[in-house]
């Protein structure tokens, strides 16, 4: 028996493929954000709802090598605050900010002195946080930068949503042969040349009709 929705997720997995392209998209977003703000680092943290933790999903700049995959409690640090209040925030001199959990900073080996953070909002869900660390010290923060940060956060939220969908689909498939058949079928039809693809789709429509789908 499969749960409702699992078959569709399986088809999605077959069509969408692996999560790699979406991870690459996240990396590209933080790369552009860092470059545009002239910052030393930028990262995207995702909320793991099961463990109530934030996980470094994409990192560019200082801390790049060891931050990826690192986790900390979602109620901790500036990222946790931004996530809970769904509000973007800019702080100068983060080292004196108690929200910037000192032990987290020490773990990462990198303590920034300035930080911009915005929530990744998709519909009514808060998926994670986009951070830009250490903008040039001489530049005073302006509303224009806040707007840019928001735009990046929106873009990142869309990419994160796709990544999470791909992951969910992969998880559904894991260890379920009956479902993976559907995924393979979707992937196979999707990969066919135009002519054969139409034939393949007709075959699927016939199958659906046989199974009682009235739209076929």
């Amino acid at each position: 028996m499969t749960e409702r929705g699992e078959l569709q997720a399986a088809v999605a997995a077959g069509v969408v493929g692996s999560e790699e392209p979406f991870r690459a998209l996240l990396s590209a977003i933080v790369e552009v954000a860092r470059s545009l703000f002239g910052a030393k680092a930028s990262s995207i943290l995702l909320l793991d709802e099961e463990t109530d933790e934030l996980v470094f999903e994409a990192v560019v700049g200082e801390g790049e090598e060891h931050l990826l995959g690192m986790r900390f409690p979602a109620g901790k640090g500036i990222a946790g605050w931004v996530l809970a209040t769904r509000t973007p925030l800019v702080i100068e001199d983060v080292r004196t900010d108690p929200r910037f959990a000192a032990d987290v900073a020490e773990d990462t080996g990198y303590v920034p002195s300035g930080l911009m953070a915005a929530p990744l909002l998709h519909g009514e869900r808060a998926l994670g946080v986009l951070e830009v660390l250490d903008r040039p010290e001489a530049s005073l923060f302006s509303l224009h930068e806040m707007e840019l940060l928001g735009l990046f956060a929106n873009q990142a939220a869309i990419a994160v949503d796709l990544l999470l969908k791909a992951r969910r689909a992969e998880r559904v498939l894991a260890g379920k042969d009956d479902l993976s058949v559907v995924a393979r079928l979707a992937a196979a039809v999707d990969a066919l040349e135009a002519e054969r693809r139409e034939a393949g789709l007709q075959l699927l429509r016939d199958l659906a009709a046989t199974l009682g789908d009235r739209r076929s």
Partner: protein, 283 residues
């Protein structure tokens, strides 16, 4: 939320039905305020220190005794148990992030003699933060504060209807809800409701500069960029964001209400409009 909807100024006080006005009753709703020919800042809050106005900071807690904050009228923490029960207890932890202290400090700087209270709705698990926010606002509305500063919002649609009801309850009970607008194009609440005073940021360094926005939903802009604020641990930081513009407007509301306690939220909003920097604020 029916218990929240009791009105401090309803029929039981005026002996009038709330929905009609008999001919012989007109003098019973005579307004106490004498309005000048021209509403100026001098009339609105000249000489006011905020004394007598009660301001609630609904946030991460407030560090009582911080030199830039002073003493608090009260400090409570709101939590929601596993069975959904709301627990309001004395807050012994103070500020769990620093943000509430920053908001309290901004209000204190502009309205040095107002009464400040803290209702902490942050610091527990992320998952329950929406329910705690609702419970905290419910509690704050019941306490009849003059001003409730809400430098946060939620994007969860299921909460919107209850928040809307709470915002209206606050409005009818003469509690002014001052809420941060979102500076990202997302649907969030309660700032989008017309019964609250919604606040975005401007870049001017003057803490008493505030602008009326003729194209809502954001109705006012307050100082929200590169603001020096007190932080927990006796520290000071430079911060930016709408959540810091909001307490500027909360403080101005406190100044006005301290001088004119009879004003309803509707009237207060009008005074804010008439005295806004881009309207008549220079007079």
């Amino acid at each position: 939320m029916g218990d929240v909807a009791g009105h401090r100024w309803d029929a039981s006080q005026t002996a009038l039905p709330a929905w009609s006005l008999p001919k012989d009753a007109v003098d019973r709703i005579a307004l106490p305020a004498e309005w000048p020919e021209q509403v100026t800042r001098e009339w609105a809050f000249g000489g006011s220190t905020g004394r007598g106005a009660r301001v609630c900071i609904l946030d991460s807690g407030v560090e009582a005794g911080h030199p830039s904050v002073g003493e608090l009228e009260r400090s409570v923490v709101v939590t929601v148990g596993e069975a959904g029960e709301v627990v309001v207890a004395e807050d012994t932890e103070g500020d769990v992030s620093g943000h509430g202290t920053a908001c309290a400090g901004i209000v204190r700087a502009l309205a040095p003699e107002c009464s400040l209270a803290s209702v902490r709705v942050l610091g527990a698990n992320f998952a329950g933060s929406g329910a705690v926010l609702l419970a905290g606002l419910h509690y704050a509305v019941e306490q009849d504060f003059d001003v409730i500063n809400m430098s946060l919002s939620t994007t969860k649609k299921p909460f919107a209807a209850v928040l809307h009801e709470l915002a209206d309850s606050a409005y009818f009970r003469r509690s002014v809800l001052v809420a941060s607008a979102h500076n990202m194009p997302v649907e969030s609440y309660p700032w989008r409701f017309s019964s609250v005073i919604s606040v975005g940021s401007h870049e001017e360094p003057d803490p008493l500069a505030y602008f009326y926005n003729p194209t809502p939903p954001v109705e006012f802009f307050g100082r929200g960029v590169n603001v020096q604020v007190p932080w927990s641990g006796g520290r000071t930081l430079t911060v930016s964001g709408n959540s810091f513009a909001t307490p500027h407007l909360s403080a101005i509301c406190a100044l006005i209400l301290a001088k004119h306690p009879e004003l309803t939220p509707f009237q207060l909003k009008n005074v804010l409009y008439l005295t806004a920097t881009n309207v008549g604020g220079g007079r």
